[in-house]
């Protein structure tokens, strides 16, 4: 017997009615993207110490605990609300591990959500981090500097748009919604960010450095 997955609308409706199973199912469906959110926004200092998987588990508990707040007062789509809650959990995790004020971890976050932002540090750590092999250690330093410069020069919102679209695999509409922008503005910012990166990324990506992109 094959089962067609339950439509999202009906799943959300069941959540409204207080079904915890539905919430678990919903969370499970969005796991991949939420994992990306956690993985990407995690402070580089925590990489390797904290498994995104554990954060997600903790986040699910938080979501389940607070879902009644959303049910009573759904100011935003559930998808967005869940992301926000996961972001909150991540801030908690940061606070616990880094013993810092929450404010400093949720720096430069434009838009409506309070969660660790895509700072230039996290972004360049992610990008340059993919070059850590012994044969590349030296090139990396220089590449990192260039990359860092390019990222530094980016508008913080452009940076946010770029990372959300790639690292969290959000669509333009979703990005716009989350950041409170017009879709056309969000798209324009994405294009601008790509343009800034195009020259820097090419030599950084070893596959591309060898030949033309596919």
């Amino acid at each position: 017997m094959t089962q067609t997955p339950e439509p999202e609308d009906s799943l959300v409706e069941r959540i409204r009615q207080g079904s915890e199973d539905a919430l678990a199912e919903y969370f499970g469906r969005h796991r991949e993207r939420l994992w990306r959110l956690v993985h990407f926004r995690m402070d580089p200092r925590l990489q390797g110490r904290v498994d995104p998987e554990d954060v997600l588990q903790e986040a699910f508990v938080d979501v389940a605990k607070r879902i009644h707040i959303w049910v009573e007062n759904p100011t935003m789509p559930l998808r967005l609300w869940v992301r926000l809650t996961v972001g909150q959990t991540l801030i908690e995790v940061h606070r616990r591990h880094l013993l810092v004020q929450a404010r400093s971890v949720e720096h430069e976050v434009p838009g409506r959500l309070r969660m660790p932002g895509a700072s230039s540090v996290t972004l360049s750590a992610h990008l340059a981090g993919s070059l850590t092999s012994p044969s590349r250690a030296a090139i990396r330093e220089e590449a990192k500097r260039l990359l860092h410069e390019a990222i530094e020069q980016m508008d913080p919102i452009d940076r946010q748009v770029l990372t959300m679209r790639h690292f969290e695999e959000l669509s333009n509409a979703e990005v716009a919604e989350e950041l409170g922008l017009q879709p056309s503005t969000a798209s324009a910012r994405y294009i601008r960010a790509l343009a800034r990166l195009k020259d820097v990324l090419r030599p950084l990506d070893p596959d591309q450095a060898k030949g033309p992109p596919p």
Partner: protein, 923 residues
């Protein structure tokens, strides 16, 4: 209000992203063709999209240095039901699983998807897994097979009920911190420890025996694998499993190699493993002894409970591994059994040649230790240790005064003993046998001391490990180029050594047995002096060395067995002569070298001789450029000398004639890259007048040669990023751009401005890269004079390009940097004329650039500096060189006068005029 419709470009990007994520690789050009209205965005921006997606994929595959399957969760693979995660390393995640078809418990290592996207790497992985599956040994975890599902590759192993030595170490450390309180320890660990420590009374030696038992098993496993031709390459605590009976299992054979190569994916893993990697592995050279080294480090850590290289900053760790900075075992564990200490220290010797020759030898020595029999490894003497220490720590800056003194006294003792015993022999002629024995011992002492000095010489003038030719390391040094920095402090230390060396040579030069050593020592003295910029001292040393060699050879004119050494000597002498402006004499020396090498450097002869011959042709070519020019200007007779282009082409022919394997040798590639650059430079210089077509093909060929050279060097840099010499050569190569477009367009020939600006943009990019690389290089090796000179040349050229592009504001800082570099060089090496000339050039360029920007006051100041320096130099010059310099000074003064008048400083201008008149009168 209606929501603005998303642009079609946005729609295109979304669908492009979706296709990428679905695993497609959309063809950009095709896409651009389908959407001509967005073609330029597709070409420009979409590659960045691809790059971002790739980076994301890689990043997800390695969370914080550990493998990760990204956002996916696995529950089963084929007939394997995954039960729990039991470990996570850089290269994969290990699960305990049940193989349902055989209902047996197995361990499965799952590799992140991105790791094997590359077909070649996948092939390698499967091959290595197959080889690993063929290894049958009590101490090797059996591999059952491999599989693939949804892009996840995995391999299935026997499930070992045990713990990794990394876990064992962590627990032991914990236990130590709790002051030996064994409470809460798990049963497995307790049983394993008991098994390993069996038959040993409690005490300091008991743990030593346990560690040796682990070592015997691993070494035996390695011996077995090595005999099958498989290296492990990643021996580390996490790859060694210990079960309750005290049996150790080695796992992950060959996996490191399978996944390494282009070095992208093991990234995270390297952070973990680099702690156990042998220094030569950093250069990509691995043999069985690298595994022994890694095992040695594991034993070291088991004994001391401290990692030999504490994890930490990557760069520091790399440096520590490279330099072999390991704290002596005894320092951390004062009661370590002496023989066990010797065994471990032998296994972890930084130079593979000093380690056990194979795993069986290590195993047998460990067994001897366990059996209380004498071991075979020899403790190194203090002097040997010192020597090795010197070799490793290539920077003389690391030489402390006390070490140096120790060296000096060791040398002095040897020498004194030698002198007195030979003296005694001659004077008394009695107790001959005894004395001969004494003499022999003294001579040995002396040779030992000499060898210690060799190490010191290696420090400053010696070859990088990569440059030695393996089949004859000693002579291989010849073609190598030095790559160690020398600081002023080092210079002082060196001077002291040199004085001793000179004394030594003086006393022993007549002794037949030591004459060759002396000749060599003089040659090396010359090398160091040359490096220090003491050109006349270097010349003297080389000439003395030559005399000694000639004495050795008697009346024979051929080089005989010394041909290569002699050729090298003549070449170095030639370089010194060229550096002091005597190009004709230099050419003569290179010609001698060429004739010496001709009989020994034919096809099929030893590589070092052939390489030296190629180098000789290059050196000849460089001197020919100038001597031909002089011959052409002075003599009416047409010159019969070959052109420099012919010389470099000959060098290239020699290199091309090498067989393919040899041509792959990094040293050969470097030499080839350099030859190509010299050729390209020669082609650029040899302007063909009047024939536009020939002129064009000349430029095209130069460019082609240059590109080939750049490509070679990029490859070398990528393979050996630790070797700064390759990066230096790349800087030189990138700096070589045609200067034609820099010049303002000539009158009468309307310059194709579009073409010109494209050429300028290209030059800008290349030189920009050269400057960046040069700066990075200099940060690493701040004192290396040639690196500094290369950077300053790149800076000057880039400034010229910027000027030509109409961006003078951006050129001045570049030139200022060049001037300050040149000033540093001049101060550091006052005896090298070339560096003085660099300064004059740079300062002149600064004046021109400032004037072009209409910054007259700074231009005047810079010009005054230049005039003062020229005057000073003029005063120092010997008579024949004065004329040209006086001419230069005259031009500077004219320019200064003009600028001063422009500024309205009439009085000062008049004074300059007076000086100018006086100068002309004198002339």
């Amino acid at each position: 209000m209606t929501e603005p419709v998303e642009s079609t470009l946005e729609t295109l990007m979304e669908s492009f992203l979706a296709r990428l994520r679905a695993g497609e690789t959309p063809e950009l050009e095709q896409l651009a063709g389908e959407h001509p209205e967005h073609a330029s965005e597709i070409r420009e921006l979409f590659p960045a999209i691809v790059a971002m997606e790739r980076l994301k994929a890689r990043r997800e595959a390695e969370s914080g240095g550990r493998a990760s399957l990204g956002p996916h969760r696995l529950e089963r693979l084929a007939d394997l039901r995954l039960l729990r995660e039991i470990g996570r390393g850089g290269m994969g995640i290990v699960y305990e699983a049940e193989q349902e078809s055989l209902s047996r418990r197995v361990a499965v290592k799952v590799l992140p998807r991105q790791m094997l996207l590359d077909k070649n790497r996948l092939g390698r992985f499967l091959r290595e897994a197959k080889i690993a599956a063929r290894l049958h040994h009590t101490n090797i975890v059996p591999v059952f097979g491999t599989g693939e599902q949804d892009g996840y590759h995995y391999y299935v192993m026997q499930y070992i009920h045990g713990i990794g030595l990394d876990v064992l170490l962590a627990r032991l450390r914990e236990r130590r911190e709790r002051h030996g309180d064994d409470g809460g320890e798990d049963a497995l660990l307790a049983a394993a420890t008991r098994a390993l420590e069996r038959d040993q009374p409690p005490g300091a030696h008991r743990w030593g025996h346990a560690v040796a038992r682990i070592g015997v098993q691993v070494a035996d496993a390695l011996a077995h694998a090595h005999a099958q031709g498989t290296l492990h390459r990643d021996v580390k605590p996490g790859n060694l499993l210990l079960d309750a009976r005290g049996t150790v299992f080695v796992t992950d054979f060959g996996l490191a190699k399978a996944l390494e190569q282009d070095g992208i994916t093991v990234s995270g893993d390297v952070v973990g493993t680099i702690q156990y990697i042998a220094p030569e592995q950093l250069h990509g050279r691995v043999d069985a002894r690298a595994d022994l080294y890694s095992l040695g480090l594991v034993l070291y850590e088991l004994l001391t409970l401290e990692p030999a290289f504490p994890p930490g900053d990557r760069a520091q760790l790399l440096e520590a591994v490279r330099a072999g900075q390991i704290r002596p075992l005894r320092g951390l564990m004062p009661d370590v059994p002496r023989d066990l200490e010797t065994i471990v220290q032998t296994a972890i010797a930084p130079d593979p040649a000093h380690r056990y020759r194979d795993a069986a030898a290590l195993r047998d020595d460990l067994q001897r230790f366990l059996d209380d029999r004498p071991i075979l490894a020899r403790r190194t003497t203090a002097l040997e240790q010192l020597g090795r220490w010197c070799r490793r720590n290539k920077l003389l800056a690391g030489l402390t005064t006390s070490t140096l003194l120790a060296l000096l006294s060791a040398g002095a003792v040897g020498w004194v003993a030698y002198a007195t015993t030979t003296g005694a022999l001659e004077r008394e002629g009695q107790r001959a046998n005894e004395a001969r024995r004494q003499g022999a011992r003294a001579e040995n002492n002396l040779l030992l001391a000499l060898r210690a000095f060799e190490d010191v010489f290696d420090l400053v003038s010696g070859p990088d490990v990569l440059h030695s030719v393996p089949d004859d390391p000693e002579e291989g040094q010849s073609a190598a180029l030095p790559s160690v920095s020398v600081s002023t402090k080092d210079v002082e230390l060196l001077q002291r050594i040199l004085r001793f060396y000179d004394l030594f040579i003086e006393q022993n030069a007549d002794n037949q047995g030591l004459r060759r050593e002396s000749a060599k020592a003089y040659r090396r003295t010359g090398d160091i002096r040359q490096r220090l910029g003491q050109l006349s001292g270097a010349e003297e040393a080389y000439r003395r060395s030559l005399t000694l060699y000639r004495q050795l050879l008697g009346s024979a004119h051929a080089g005989g067995v010394y041909a290569l050494e002699l050729a090298l000597l003549h070449n170095e002498l030639g370089r010194v002569l060229a550096a002091t402006g005597r190009f004709g004499d230099a050419r003569a020396e290179h010609e001698i070298a060429r004739d010496l090498l001709a009989p020994v450097a034919g096809e099929g002869s030893q590589l070092p001789a052939r390489l030296e011959l190629a180098r000789t042709w290059n050196l000849l070519g460089t001197t020919l450029t100038i001597t031909r020019f002089r011959a052409a200007t002075r003599d009416e007779r047409p010159t019969t000398l070959p052109t420099s282009l012919e010389a470099h082409a000959t060098a290239l022919e020699i290199l091309d004639a090498l067989d393919e394997a040899t041509r792959n040798d990094p040293q050969v590639r470097l030499l080839r890259a350099r030859t190509l650059r010299l050729l390209a430079a020669g082609l650029l210089r040899n302007r063909v007048r009047g024939d536009a077509r020939q002129e064009e093909s000349r430029l095209a060929e130069s460019k082609r040669r240059n590109e080939e050279s750049v490509a070679l060097l990029r490859g070398l840099v990528q393979e050996f990023p630790a070797n700064d010499l390759y990066r230096y050569e790349l800087v030189e190569c990138l700096s070589l751009v045609s200067t034609a477009p820099f010049l303002p367009p000539r009158r009468g020939t309307p310059a194709n401005s579009e073409e010109r600006s494209a050429q300028l943009a290209e030059a800008d990019t290349r030189l920009g890269e050269a400057v960046r690389l040069g700066e990075a290089l200099l940060r690493e090796r701040p004192l290396e004079p040639e690196y500094k000179a290369a950077l300053l040349r790149a800076l000057q050229r880039l400034a010229m390009v910027r000027d030509a592009q109409g961006r003078p504001a951006e050129s001045v800082p570049l030139i200022e940097r060049a001037v300050s570099l040149a000033a540093e060089l001049q101060a550091q090496f006052p005896g090298v004329p070339a560096y003085q000339i660099e300064w004059f050039n740079a300062q002149g360029a600064l004046v021109r650039s400032l004037e072009r920007r209409n910054e007259i006051a700074p231009a005047v100041a810079a010009l005054e500096t230049l005039v003062a320096a020229t005057r000073e130099r003029l005063a120092q010059q010997p008579e024949p060189a004065r004329l040209g310099l006086g001419f230069v000074l005259g031009r500077h003064l004219e320019q200064l006068e003009r600028l001063l008048r422009q500024q309205g400083e009439t009085a000062k201008a008049d004074e300059v005029r007076r000086q100018l008149d006086e100068l002309r009168r004198r002339r």
